[in-house]
Amino acid sequence: MRRWLAAPASETQVSHGQRLWLYAFAAIVMVFLVAPTLIVVPMSFSGSQYLEFPPQEWSTRWYREYFGSAEWMAATRTSLAAATLTMLVATPLGVMAAYGLHASQLRWGRAVFVLLITPMMVPLILVAIGAFYVYVKLQILYTLAGLVLAHSMLALPLVLIVTASGLKSYDMNQEMAARSLGASRARAFLTVTLPQIRFSVVTAALLSFLTSFDEVVVAMFISGGDNSTLTRNMFNALRDQIDPTIASISTIMIVVTSLLMVLAQLFGRDRSRAD
Protein backbone atom coordinates (compact mmCIF):
# COMPACT_ATOMS: atom_id res chain seq x y z
CA MET A 1 0.00 0.00 0.00
CA ARG A 2 2.74 2.41 0.99
CA ARG A 3 4.64 1.53 -2.15
CA TRP A 4 1.56 2.23 -4.26
CA LEU A 5 1.10 5.62 -2.60
CA ALA A 6 4.65 6.61 -3.47
CA ALA A 7 4.55 5.22 -7.01
CA PRO A 8 4.30 7.75 -9.83
CA ALA A 9 0.75 8.12 -11.12
CA SER A 10 1.37 10.34 -14.12
CA GLU A 11 3.92 11.39 -16.68
CA THR A 12 4.91 14.29 -14.44
CA GLN A 13 5.86 11.97 -11.58
CA VAL A 14 2.99 12.95 -9.29
CA SER A 15 2.59 10.06 -6.86
CA HIS A 16 -0.67 8.32 -6.07
CA GLY A 17 -0.32 9.66 -2.52
CA GLN A 18 -0.36 13.24 -3.80
CA ARG A 19 -3.42 12.41 -5.84
CA LEU A 20 -5.51 10.96 -3.01
CA TRP A 21 -7.67 14.10 -2.92
CA LEU A 22 -8.57 13.50 -6.58
CA TYR A 23 -9.49 9.89 -5.91
CA ALA A 24 -11.64 10.84 -2.93
CA PHE A 25 -13.34 13.56 -4.96
CA ALA A 26 -14.00 11.15 -7.84
CA ALA A 27 -15.46 8.58 -5.46
CA ILE A 28 -17.93 11.15 -4.13
CA VAL A 29 -18.89 12.14 -7.68
CA MET A 30 -19.48 8.52 -8.64
CA VAL A 31 -21.72 8.01 -5.62
CA PHE A 32 -23.56 11.22 -6.50
CA LEU A 33 -24.10 9.96 -10.06
CA VAL A 34 -25.25 6.46 -9.31
CA ALA A 35 -26.67 6.28 -5.79
CA PRO A 36 -29.88 8.29 -6.25
CA THR A 37 -31.00 6.06 -9.09
CA LEU A 38 -30.05 2.79 -7.44
CA ILE A 39 -31.52 3.62 -4.04
CA VAL A 40 -34.98 3.68 -5.62
CA VAL A 41 -34.69 -0.08 -6.19
CA PRO A 42 -34.74 -1.25 -2.53
CA MET A 43 -37.16 1.54 -1.63
CA SER A 44 -39.69 0.24 -4.12
CA PHE A 45 -39.94 -2.95 -2.05
CA SER A 46 -41.01 -1.04 1.05
CA GLY A 47 -44.31 -2.03 2.62
CA SER A 48 -45.23 1.38 3.99
CA GLN A 49 -46.87 4.37 2.38
CA TYR A 50 -43.74 6.43 3.01
CA LEU A 51 -40.73 5.31 1.07
CA GLU A 52 -38.10 4.21 3.55
CA PHE A 53 -34.51 3.14 3.26
CA PRO A 54 -33.77 0.55 4.34
CA PRO A 55 -37.44 -0.56 4.29
CA GLN A 56 -38.80 -1.62 7.70
CA GLU A 57 -40.85 -4.34 6.11
CA TRP A 58 -40.32 -5.77 2.69
CA SER A 59 -43.25 -6.21 0.36
CA THR A 60 -44.18 -6.25 -3.28
CA ARG A 61 -47.22 -4.14 -2.57
CA TRP A 62 -46.33 -1.35 -5.03
CA TYR A 63 -45.62 -3.83 -7.79
CA ARG A 64 -49.02 -5.42 -7.28
CA GLU A 65 -50.50 -1.93 -7.38
CA TYR A 66 -48.78 -1.27 -10.70
CA PHE A 67 -49.56 -4.56 -12.39
CA GLY A 68 -53.09 -4.52 -11.01
CA SER A 69 -53.94 -1.08 -12.37
CA ALA A 70 -55.64 -1.10 -15.76
CA GLU A 71 -54.60 2.50 -16.28
CA TRP A 72 -50.87 1.93 -15.67
CA MET A 73 -50.96 -1.20 -17.83
CA ALA A 74 -52.61 0.64 -20.72
CA ALA A 75 -50.02 3.42 -20.45
CA THR A 76 -47.20 0.87 -20.42
CA ARG A 77 -48.60 -0.80 -23.53
CA THR A 78 -48.81 2.57 -25.30
CA SER A 79 -45.23 3.44 -24.36
CA LEU A 80 -43.89 0.08 -25.50
CA ALA A 81 -45.82 0.25 -28.77
CA ALA A 82 -44.70 3.83 -29.43
CA ALA A 83 -41.07 3.02 -28.64
CA THR A 84 -41.05 -0.10 -30.84
CA LEU A 85 -42.69 1.69 -33.76
CA THR A 86 -40.38 4.69 -33.34
CA MET A 87 -37.42 2.34 -33.52
CA LEU A 88 -38.83 0.74 -36.69
CA VAL A 89 -39.46 4.13 -38.32
CA ALA A 90 -36.50 6.22 -37.18
CA THR A 91 -33.80 3.60 -37.76
CA PRO A 92 -34.42 2.99 -41.49
CA LEU A 93 -35.07 6.69 -42.17
CA GLY A 94 -31.93 7.73 -40.31
CA VAL A 95 -29.75 5.04 -41.90
CA MET A 96 -31.06 5.95 -45.37
CA ALA A 97 -30.30 9.61 -44.78
CA ALA A 98 -26.85 8.89 -43.34
CA TYR A 99 -26.00 6.64 -46.31
CA GLY A 100 -27.38 9.11 -48.83
CA LEU A 101 -25.38 11.98 -47.38
CA HIS A 102 -22.24 9.88 -47.08
CA ALA A 103 -22.37 8.43 -50.59
CA SER A 104 -23.54 11.49 -52.50
CA GLN A 105 -21.04 13.96 -51.02
CA LEU A 106 -23.12 16.85 -52.33
CA ARG A 107 -22.21 20.40 -51.52
CA TRP A 108 -25.45 21.07 -49.64
CA GLY A 109 -25.15 17.76 -47.81
CA ARG A 110 -23.78 19.69 -44.87
CA ALA A 111 -26.89 21.91 -44.72
CA VAL A 112 -29.18 18.86 -44.82
CA PHE A 113 -27.16 17.24 -42.04
CA VAL A 114 -27.61 20.34 -39.90
CA LEU A 115 -31.34 20.42 -40.65
CA LEU A 116 -31.71 16.77 -39.63
CA ILE A 117 -29.89 17.22 -36.32
CA THR A 118 -31.72 20.43 -35.31
CA PRO A 119 -34.35 18.44 -33.34
CA MET A 120 -31.54 17.91 -30.80
CA MET A 121 -31.02 21.64 -30.36
CA VAL A 122 -34.61 22.90 -30.24
CA PRO A 123 -36.05 23.06 -26.71
CA LEU A 124 -38.49 20.17 -26.31
CA ILE A 125 -41.25 22.43 -25.04
CA LEU A 126 -41.28 24.22 -28.40
CA VAL A 127 -41.41 20.95 -30.31
CA ALA A 128 -44.27 19.96 -28.03
CA ILE A 129 -46.50 22.99 -28.51
CA GLY A 130 -45.70 23.18 -32.24
CA ALA A 131 -46.60 19.53 -32.77
CA PHE A 132 -49.71 20.00 -30.63
CA TYR A 133 -50.94 22.74 -32.96
CA VAL A 134 -50.16 20.92 -36.19
CA TYR A 135 -51.69 17.69 -34.89
CA VAL A 136 -54.96 19.43 -34.09
CA LYS A 137 -55.08 20.62 -37.72
CA LEU A 138 -54.13 17.19 -39.08
CA GLN A 139 -56.53 15.54 -36.61
CA ILE A 140 -53.89 13.14 -35.32
CA LEU A 141 -53.76 14.50 -31.78
CA TYR A 142 -53.80 11.75 -29.11
CA THR A 143 -53.14 9.05 -31.72
CA LEU A 144 -50.34 6.52 -31.66
CA ALA A 145 -49.34 7.45 -35.22
CA GLY A 146 -48.86 11.08 -34.26
CA LEU A 147 -46.80 10.15 -31.24
CA VAL A 148 -44.58 7.85 -33.32
CA LEU A 149 -44.10 10.57 -35.93
CA ALA A 150 -42.94 13.11 -33.32
CA HIS A 151 -40.72 10.63 -31.49
CA SER A 152 -39.18 9.46 -34.75
CA MET A 153 -38.22 13.05 -35.49
CA LEU A 154 -36.60 13.33 -32.06
CA ALA A 155 -34.71 10.06 -32.59
CA LEU A 156 -33.51 10.89 -36.13
CA PRO A 157 -30.48 12.98 -35.08
CA LEU A 158 -29.16 10.17 -32.88
CA VAL A 159 -29.59 7.54 -35.61
CA LEU A 160 -27.98 9.86 -38.14
CA ILE A 161 -24.97 10.69 -35.97
CA VAL A 162 -24.33 7.10 -34.85
CA THR A 163 -24.72 5.67 -38.37
CA ALA A 164 -22.63 8.43 -39.96
CA SER A 165 -19.78 7.70 -37.57
CA GLY A 166 -20.08 4.00 -38.43
CA LEU A 167 -19.91 4.80 -42.14
CA LYS A 168 -16.88 7.00 -41.63
CA SER A 169 -14.76 4.02 -40.60
CA TYR A 170 -16.13 1.90 -43.47
CA ASP A 171 -14.32 1.68 -46.80
CA MET A 172 -16.83 2.47 -49.56
CA ASN A 173 -14.54 0.81 -52.12
CA GLN A 174 -15.88 -2.53 -50.93
CA GLU A 175 -19.27 -1.53 -52.20
CA MET A 176 -17.69 -0.44 -55.48
CA ALA A 177 -16.14 -3.89 -55.77
CA ALA A 178 -19.51 -5.56 -55.22
CA ARG A 179 -21.10 -3.35 -57.84
CA SER A 180 -18.36 -3.93 -60.38
CA LEU A 181 -19.11 -7.63 -59.98
CA GLY A 182 -22.69 -6.94 -61.00
CA ALA A 183 -24.57 -6.26 -57.76
CA SER A 184 -27.10 -3.45 -57.87
CA ARG A 185 -26.59 -0.49 -55.56
CA ALA A 186 -29.32 -1.73 -53.20
CA ARG A 187 -27.97 -5.27 -53.16
CA ALA A 188 -24.43 -4.06 -52.58
CA PHE A 189 -25.63 -1.97 -49.65
CA LEU A 190 -27.69 -4.75 -48.10
CA THR A 191 -25.16 -7.54 -48.49
CA VAL A 192 -21.83 -5.73 -48.15
CA THR A 193 -22.22 -2.39 -46.38
CA LEU A 194 -25.04 -3.04 -43.92
CA PRO A 195 -23.47 -6.15 -42.31
CA GLN A 196 -20.33 -4.14 -41.63
CA ILE A 197 -22.06 -1.17 -40.04
CA ARG A 198 -24.62 -3.31 -38.22
CA PHE A 199 -23.28 -2.47 -34.77
CA SER A 200 -23.82 1.23 -35.35
CA VAL A 201 -27.28 0.45 -36.68
CA VAL A 202 -28.16 -1.71 -33.66
CA THR A 203 -26.91 0.99 -31.28
CA ALA A 204 -28.93 3.57 -33.19
CA ALA A 205 -32.03 1.38 -32.95
CA LEU A 206 -31.63 0.93 -29.18
CA LEU A 207 -31.14 4.66 -28.75
CA SER A 208 -34.26 5.47 -30.73
CA PHE A 209 -36.26 2.99 -28.64
CA LEU A 210 -35.07 4.68 -25.45
CA THR A 211 -35.62 8.17 -26.86
CA SER A 212 -39.28 7.41 -27.34
CA PHE A 213 -39.75 5.35 -24.19
CA ASP A 214 -38.26 8.03 -21.90
CA GLU A 215 -39.69 11.09 -23.61
CA VAL A 216 -41.93 13.21 -21.37
CA VAL A 217 -42.53 16.75 -22.62
CA VAL A 218 -43.79 16.08 -26.15
CA ALA A 219 -45.86 13.12 -24.95
CA MET A 220 -47.46 15.39 -22.34
CA PHE A 221 -48.96 17.52 -25.09
CA ILE A 222 -49.71 15.11 -27.92
CA SER A 223 -50.50 11.86 -26.13
CA GLY A 224 -53.63 11.44 -24.09
CA GLY A 225 -56.85 9.56 -23.56
CA ASP A 226 -56.39 5.91 -24.43
CA ASN A 227 -52.98 6.65 -25.88
CA SER A 228 -51.42 8.35 -22.89
CA THR A 229 -47.84 7.23 -22.32
CA LEU A 230 -46.29 5.83 -19.17
CA THR A 231 -44.02 8.84 -18.69
CA ARG A 232 -46.94 11.22 -19.14
CA ASN A 233 -48.89 9.52 -16.37
CA MET A 234 -45.79 9.35 -14.16
CA PHE A 235 -45.14 13.06 -14.61
CA ASN A 236 -48.71 13.95 -13.72
CA ALA A 237 -48.56 11.71 -10.66
CA LEU A 238 -45.28 13.34 -9.58
CA ARG A 239 -46.71 16.81 -9.72
CA ASP A 240 -49.47 15.91 -7.26
CA GLN A 241 -47.84 13.78 -4.57
CA ILE A 242 -45.13 11.19 -4.07
CA ASP A 243 -46.85 7.99 -5.15
CA PRO A 244 -44.81 4.91 -4.12
CA THR A 245 -46.13 3.04 -7.18
CA ILE A 246 -43.78 5.22 -9.20
CA ALA A 247 -40.84 3.71 -7.31
CA SER A 248 -41.80 0.28 -8.60
CA ILE A 249 -42.25 1.57 -12.16
CA SER A 250 -38.90 3.38 -11.88
CA THR A 251 -37.24 0.16 -10.79
CA ILE A 252 -38.64 -1.68 -13.80
CA MET A 253 -37.45 1.12 -16.09
CA ILE A 254 -33.96 1.01 -14.55
CA VAL A 255 -33.81 -2.74 -15.13
CA VAL A 256 -34.95 -2.39 -18.75
CA THR A 257 -32.42 0.40 -19.38
CA SER A 258 -29.58 -1.58 -17.83
CA LEU A 259 -30.46 -4.59 -19.96
CA LEU A 260 -30.40 -2.47 -23.12
CA MET A 261 -27.08 -0.99 -22.00
CA VAL A 262 -25.60 -4.45 -21.53
CA LEU A 263 -26.90 -5.40 -24.98
CA ALA A 264 -25.24 -2.36 -26.54
CA GLN A 265 -22.04 -3.08 -24.63
CA LEU A 266 -21.99 -6.67 -25.88
CA PHE A 267 -22.38 -5.50 -29.47
CA GLY A 268 -19.71 -2.88 -28.94
CA ARG A 269 -17.28 -5.51 -27.68
CA ASP A 270 -18.06 -7.70 -30.68
CA ARG A 271 -17.04 -4.88 -32.94
CA SER A 272 -13.64 -4.45 -31.34
CA ARG A 273 -13.07 -8.20 -31.68
CA ALA A 274 -14.08 -8.19 -35.33
CA ASP A 275 -11.69 -5.34 -36.11
Partner: protein
Protein backbone atom coordinates in the same frame (compact mmCIF):
# COMPACT_ATOMS: atom_id res chain seq x y z
CA UNK B 1 -25.93 2.94 -69.16
CA UNK B 2 -22.56 2.14 -67.66
CA UNK B 3 -21.95 -0.58 -70.27
CA UNK B 4 -22.64 1.86 -73.09
CA UNK B 5 -20.23 4.33 -71.58
CA UNK B 6 -17.50 1.71 -71.40
CA UNK B 7 -18.11 0.53 -74.97
CA UNK B 8 -18.07 4.14 -76.14
CA UNK B 9 -14.75 4.78 -74.48
CA UNK B 10 -13.02 2.66 -77.15
CA UNK B 11 -14.38 4.69 -80.03
CA UNK B 12 -11.81 7.37 -80.86
CA UNK B 13 -12.97 10.95 -81.06
CA UNK B 14 -15.93 10.53 -78.74
CA UNK B 15 -13.94 11.08 -75.55
CA UNK B 16 -15.43 14.48 -74.87
CA UNK B 17 -19.00 13.28 -75.38
CA UNK B 18 -18.30 10.29 -73.17
CA UNK B 19 -16.91 12.41 -70.39
CA UNK B 20 -20.01 14.58 -70.51
CA UNK B 21 -22.22 11.49 -70.39
CA UNK B 22 -20.35 10.08 -67.44
CA UNK B 23 -20.60 13.36 -65.60
CA UNK B 24 -24.33 13.42 -66.25
CA UNK B 25 -24.68 9.87 -64.97
CA UNK B 26 -22.68 10.68 -61.87
CA UNK B 27 -24.82 13.75 -61.18
CA UNK B 28 -27.99 11.71 -61.66
CA UNK B 29 -26.77 9.02 -59.28
CA UNK B 30 -25.81 11.59 -56.67
CA UNK B 31 -29.26 13.08 -56.87
CA UNK B 32 -30.85 9.64 -56.47
CA UNK B 33 -28.67 8.97 -53.45
CA UNK B 34 -29.59 12.31 -52.09
CA UNK B 35 -33.24 11.34 -52.47
CA UNK B 36 -32.65 8.79 -49.73
CA UNK B 37 -32.64 11.71 -47.29
CA UNK B 38 -36.06 12.93 -48.34
CA UNK B 39 -38.25 10.84 -46.00
CA UNK B 40 -36.22 12.07 -43.03
CA UNK B 41 -36.43 15.64 -44.29
CA UNK B 42 -40.21 15.34 -44.69
CA UNK B 43 -40.59 14.14 -41.08
CA UNK B 44 -38.51 17.05 -39.76
CA UNK B 45 -40.48 19.48 -41.92
CA UNK B 46 -43.87 18.27 -40.68
CA UNK B 47 -43.10 18.02 -36.98
CA UNK B 48 -40.51 20.75 -36.57
CA UNK B 49 -40.06 23.30 -39.34
CA UNK B 50 -43.70 23.95 -40.24
CA UNK B 51 -44.84 24.23 -36.60
CA UNK B 52 -41.89 26.51 -35.84
CA UNK B 53 -42.78 28.77 -38.74
CA UNK B 54 -46.37 28.85 -37.60
CA UNK B 55 -45.39 29.71 -34.00
CA UNK B 56 -43.30 32.55 -35.38
CA UNK B 57 -46.32 33.82 -37.33
CA UNK B 58 -48.74 33.53 -34.38
CA UNK B 59 -46.38 35.45 -32.12
CA UNK B 60 -47.10 38.55 -34.22
CA UNK B 61 -50.89 38.16 -34.07
CA UNK B 62 -52.61 40.13 -31.32
CA UNK B 63 -55.74 39.26 -29.35
CA UNK B 64 -57.79 41.09 -32.00
CA UNK B 65 -56.57 38.74 -34.75
CA UNK B 66 -54.56 41.38 -36.61
CA UNK B 67 -50.81 41.96 -36.88
CA UNK B 68 -49.49 43.37 -33.64
CA UNK B 69 -46.39 43.41 -31.49
CA UNK B 70 -48.39 43.19 -28.25
CA UNK B 71 -47.05 39.72 -27.37
CA UNK B 72 -43.53 41.07 -27.41
CA UNK B 73 -44.48 44.39 -25.80
CA UNK B 74 -46.01 42.46 -22.90
CA UNK B 75 -42.67 40.80 -22.24
CA UNK B 76 -41.02 44.19 -21.85
CA UNK B 77 -43.83 45.83 -19.88
CA UNK B 78 -44.56 43.11 -17.34
CA UNK B 79 -41.97 42.69 -14.63
CA UNK B 80 -42.79 38.98 -14.24
CA UNK B 81 -41.40 38.18 -17.68
CA UNK B 82 -38.09 39.88 -17.01
CA UNK B 83 -37.86 37.89 -13.78
CA UNK B 84 -38.54 34.60 -15.59
CA UNK B 85 -35.85 35.29 -18.15
CA UNK B 86 -33.40 36.28 -15.45
CA UNK B 87 -34.15 33.13 -13.44
CA UNK B 88 -33.75 30.96 -16.55
CA UNK B 89 -30.44 32.56 -17.36
CA UNK B 90 -29.14 32.39 -13.77
CA UNK B 91 -30.21 28.78 -13.22
CA UNK B 92 -28.65 27.72 -16.54
CA UNK B 93 -25.45 29.56 -15.78
CA UNK B 94 -25.23 28.18 -12.24
CA UNK B 95 -25.87 24.62 -13.44
CA UNK B 96 -23.20 24.97 -16.12
CA UNK B 97 -20.69 26.41 -13.63
CA UNK B 98 -21.29 23.64 -11.08
CA UNK B 99 -21.06 21.02 -13.82
CA UNK B 100 -17.70 22.44 -14.90
CA UNK B 101 -16.37 22.51 -11.33
CA UNK B 102 -17.43 18.91 -10.66
CA UNK B 103 -17.16 17.47 -14.16
CA UNK B 104 -13.74 18.71 -15.22
CA UNK B 105 -11.75 17.19 -12.33
CA UNK B 106 -13.83 14.03 -12.63
CA UNK B 107 -13.13 13.74 -16.36
CA UNK B 108 -9.46 14.35 -15.57
CA UNK B 109 -9.56 11.51 -13.05
CA UNK B 110 -11.10 9.19 -15.68
CA UNK B 111 -8.54 10.21 -18.28
CA UNK B 112 -5.65 9.26 -15.96
CA UNK B 113 -6.88 5.77 -15.09
CA UNK B 114 -5.65 2.61 -16.80
CA UNK B 115 -8.07 1.55 -19.53
CA UNK B 116 -9.95 -1.20 -17.74
CA UNK B 117 -10.46 0.82 -14.55
CA UNK B 118 -11.51 3.83 -16.64
CA UNK B 119 -14.15 1.78 -18.47
CA UNK B 120 -15.46 0.49 -15.17
CA UNK B 121 -15.71 3.99 -13.70
CA UNK B 122 -17.25 5.26 -16.93
CA UNK B 123 -20.26 3.05 -16.24
CA UNK B 124 -21.16 5.43 -13.42
CA UNK B 125 -21.49 8.18 -16.03
CA UNK B 126 -23.28 6.08 -18.65
CA UNK B 127 -25.81 4.45 -16.33
CA UNK B 128 -27.48 7.74 -15.35
CA UNK B 129 -27.03 8.99 -18.92
CA UNK B 130 -29.19 6.13 -20.19
CA UNK B 131 -31.66 6.10 -17.32
CA UNK B 132 -34.92 7.95 -17.79
CA UNK B 133 -34.75 11.59 -16.77
CA UNK B 134 -38.07 11.24 -15.01
CA UNK B 135 -36.84 8.32 -12.91
CA UNK B 136 -33.79 10.28 -11.80
CA UNK B 137 -35.86 13.35 -11.00
CA UNK B 138 -38.23 11.17 -8.98
CA UNK B 139 -35.28 9.67 -7.10
CA UNK B 140 -34.13 13.13 -6.04
CA UNK B 141 -37.63 14.07 -5.00
CA UNK B 142 -37.73 11.04 -2.73
CA UNK B 143 -34.22 11.57 -1.34
CA UNK B 144 -34.47 15.29 -0.71
CA UNK B 145 -37.96 15.56 0.77
CA UNK B 146 -38.49 16.52 4.42
CA UNK B 147 -38.56 12.95 5.74
CA UNK B 148 -36.19 11.90 2.98
CA UNK B 149 -32.94 10.03 3.26
CA UNK B 150 -30.65 13.04 3.03
CA UNK B 151 -32.38 14.85 5.88
CA UNK B 152 -32.77 11.84 8.18
CA UNK B 153 -29.14 10.72 7.73
CA UNK B 154 -27.77 14.23 8.17
CA UNK B 155 -29.76 14.69 11.39
CA UNK B 156 -28.60 11.32 12.67
CA UNK B 157 -25.01 12.27 11.93
CA UNK B 158 -25.55 15.65 13.62
CA UNK B 159 -24.85 17.73 10.51
CA UNK B 160 -28.01 19.76 11.05
CA UNK B 161 -30.86 19.59 13.60
CA UNK B 162 -34.01 20.50 11.74
CA UNK B 163 -35.00 18.91 8.44
CA UNK B 164 -33.83 21.31 5.73
CA UNK B 165 -36.06 22.13 2.81
CA UNK B 166 -34.40 20.87 -0.36
CA UNK B 167 -37.28 20.25 -2.72
CA UNK B 168 -39.69 22.73 -4.26
CA UNK B 169 -37.04 25.42 -4.21
CA UNK B 170 -33.87 26.54 -5.97
CA UNK B 171 -31.42 24.21 -4.23
CA UNK B 172 -33.40 21.09 -5.16
CA UNK B 173 -33.72 22.32 -8.73
CA UNK B 174 -29.98 22.88 -9.00
CA UNK B 175 -29.08 19.51 -7.45
CA UNK B 176 -31.38 17.70 -9.85
CA UNK B 177 -30.29 19.67 -12.91
CA UNK B 178 -26.58 19.20 -12.17
CA UNK B 179 -27.17 15.46 -11.78
CA UNK B 180 -28.97 15.25 -15.13
CA UNK B 181 -26.48 17.46 -17.00
CA UNK B 182 -23.17 16.19 -15.61
CA UNK B 183 -22.71 13.37 -18.19
CA UNK B 184 -23.18 15.88 -21.03
CA UNK B 185 -20.12 17.73 -19.75
CA UNK B 186 -17.98 14.79 -18.67
CA UNK B 187 -18.21 12.81 -21.93
CA UNK B 188 -16.91 15.48 -24.36
CA UNK B 189 -14.35 16.75 -21.83
CA UNK B 190 -13.06 13.21 -21.39
CA UNK B 191 -12.80 12.54 -25.11
CA UNK B 192 -10.73 15.65 -25.66
CA UNK B 193 -8.48 14.78 -22.69
CA UNK B 194 -7.95 11.27 -24.05
CA UNK B 195 -6.78 12.73 -27.35
CA UNK B 196 -3.90 14.57 -25.64
CA UNK B 197 -0.57 12.86 -26.26
CA UNK B 198 0.89 11.69 -22.99
CA UNK B 199 4.35 12.45 -24.36
CA UNK B 200 3.57 16.17 -24.18
CA UNK B 201 3.35 15.94 -20.40
CA UNK B 202 6.49 13.83 -20.33
CA UNK B 203 8.26 16.44 -22.45
CA UNK B 204 7.10 19.24 -20.16
CA UNK B 205 8.35 17.31 -17.12
CA UNK B 206 11.72 16.56 -18.73
CA UNK B 207 12.15 20.24 -19.50
CA UNK B 208 11.77 20.99 -15.84
CA UNK B 209 8.12 21.98 -15.44
CA UNK B 210 6.59 20.85 -12.18
CA UNK B 211 3.34 18.88 -12.25
CA UNK B 212 1.20 21.96 -11.58
CA UNK B 213 2.89 24.07 -14.23
CA UNK B 214 2.82 21.24 -16.77
CA UNK B 215 -0.89 20.77 -16.14
CA UNK B 216 -1.84 24.43 -16.53
CA UNK B 217 0.41 25.28 -19.49
CA UNK B 218 0.17 22.02 -21.47
CA UNK B 219 -2.74 19.79 -20.47
CA UNK B 220 -5.39 22.35 -19.58
CA UNK B 221 -5.24 24.43 -22.81
CA UNK B 222 -5.38 21.25 -24.91
CA UNK B 223 -8.42 19.96 -23.02
CA UNK B 224 -10.39 23.20 -23.44
CA UNK B 225 -12.23 22.40 -26.71
CA UNK B 226 -13.94 19.39 -25.12
CA UNK B 227 -14.75 21.27 -21.94
CA UNK B 228 -16.14 24.13 -23.97
CA UNK B 229 -18.29 21.85 -26.14
CA UNK B 230 -19.66 20.13 -23.03
CA UNK B 231 -20.38 23.39 -21.22
CA UNK B 232 -22.15 24.73 -24.31
CA UNK B 233 -24.30 21.60 -24.52
CA UNK B 234 -25.23 21.87 -20.84
CA UNK B 235 -26.08 25.56 -21.07
CA UNK B 236 -28.24 25.19 -24.17
CA UNK B 237 -30.10 22.19 -22.75
CA UNK B 238 -30.70 24.08 -19.48
CA UNK B 239 -32.22 27.06 -21.29
CA UNK B 240 -35.13 24.93 -22.47
CA UNK B 241 -35.21 22.41 -19.62
CA UNK B 242 -38.68 21.57 -18.40
CA UNK B 243 -39.20 18.30 -16.53
CA UNK B 244 -36.68 18.46 -13.69
CA UNK B 245 -37.18 22.12 -12.72
CA UNK B 246 -40.95 21.67 -12.93
CA UNK B 247 -40.90 18.73 -10.50
CA UNK B 248 -38.09 19.74 -8.13
CA UNK B 249 -38.80 23.47 -8.31
CA UNK B 250 -42.39 22.86 -7.29
CA UNK B 251 -43.59 26.12 -8.84
CA UNK B 252 -41.10 28.20 -6.87
CA UNK B 253 -38.53 28.31 -9.65
CA UNK B 254 -40.26 29.38 -12.85
CA UNK B 255 -38.32 29.04 -16.07
CA UNK B 256 -39.30 30.16 -19.58
CA UNK B 257 -40.23 26.61 -20.60
CA UNK B 258 -42.70 26.33 -17.71
CA UNK B 259 -44.28 29.66 -18.55
CA UNK B 260 -44.76 28.49 -22.15
CA UNK B 261 -46.42 25.29 -20.95
CA UNK B 262 -48.74 27.09 -18.54
CA UNK B 263 -49.66 29.65 -21.20
CA UNK B 264 -50.98 26.77 -23.29
CA UNK B 265 -52.30 24.39 -20.63
CA UNK B 266 -53.95 26.91 -18.30
CA UNK B 267 -54.60 30.05 -20.33
CA UNK B 268 -54.70 28.69 -23.91
CA UNK B 269 -52.88 31.85 -24.94
CA UNK B 270 -51.03 30.90 -28.12
CA UNK B 271 -49.82 34.42 -28.82
CA UNK B 272 -48.03 34.74 -25.48
CA UNK B 273 -46.66 31.19 -25.60
CA UNK B 274 -45.33 31.49 -29.14
CA UNK B 275 -43.70 34.88 -28.51
CA UNK B 276 -41.90 33.37 -25.50
CA UNK B 277 -40.98 30.41 -27.66
CA UNK B 278 -39.51 32.65 -30.35
CA UNK B 279 -37.42 34.51 -27.78
CA UNK B 280 -36.24 31.22 -26.25
CA UNK B 281 -35.32 29.89 -29.68
CA UNK B 282 -33.47 33.09 -30.58
CA UNK B 283 -31.54 32.96 -27.29
CA UNK B 284 -30.60 29.33 -27.93
CA UNK B 285 -29.50 30.00 -31.50
CA UNK B 286 -27.58 33.12 -30.48
CA UNK B 287 -25.71 31.13 -27.84
CA UNK B 288 -24.84 28.43 -30.37
CA UNK B 289 -23.81 30.99 -32.98
CA UNK B 290 -21.61 32.94 -30.59
CA UNK B 291 -20.06 29.72 -29.34
CA UNK B 292 -19.41 28.46 -32.86
CA UNK B 293 -17.42 31.59 -33.60
CA UNK B 294 -15.54 31.22 -30.37
CA UNK B 295 -14.73 27.55 -30.92
CA UNK B 296 -13.47 28.23 -34.41
CA UNK B 297 -11.22 31.01 -33.11
CA UNK B 298 -10.11 28.66 -30.38
CA UNK B 299 -9.15 26.01 -32.92
CA UNK B 300 -7.31 28.48 -35.12
CA UNK B 301 -5.18 29.71 -32.26
CA UNK B 302 -4.71 26.17 -31.00
CA UNK B 303 -3.54 24.83 -34.34
CA UNK B 304 -0.79 27.35 -34.92
Amino acid sequence: MAAEAIAGAFAPGDAAANAAGLRRDAARERLALFGLCSPAIVVVLIVLVIPAGWLFYVSFIGAGGAFSLENYARMIEQKSYARIFRTTFEVSLATTAICILIGYPFAYFLSQLPRRAANLCLITVLLPFWTSLLVRTYAWLVLLQKQGLVNSWAIELGLWDEPLKFVHNLSGTLIGMVHIMLPFLVLPALSSMKAIERDYMRAAASMGAGPVRAFWTVFFPLSLPGLFAGALMVFVLCLGFYVTPAVLGGGKVILVSMRIASNIELFVNWGAASALGVVLMVLTLATLWLAARFIRLERLTGAH
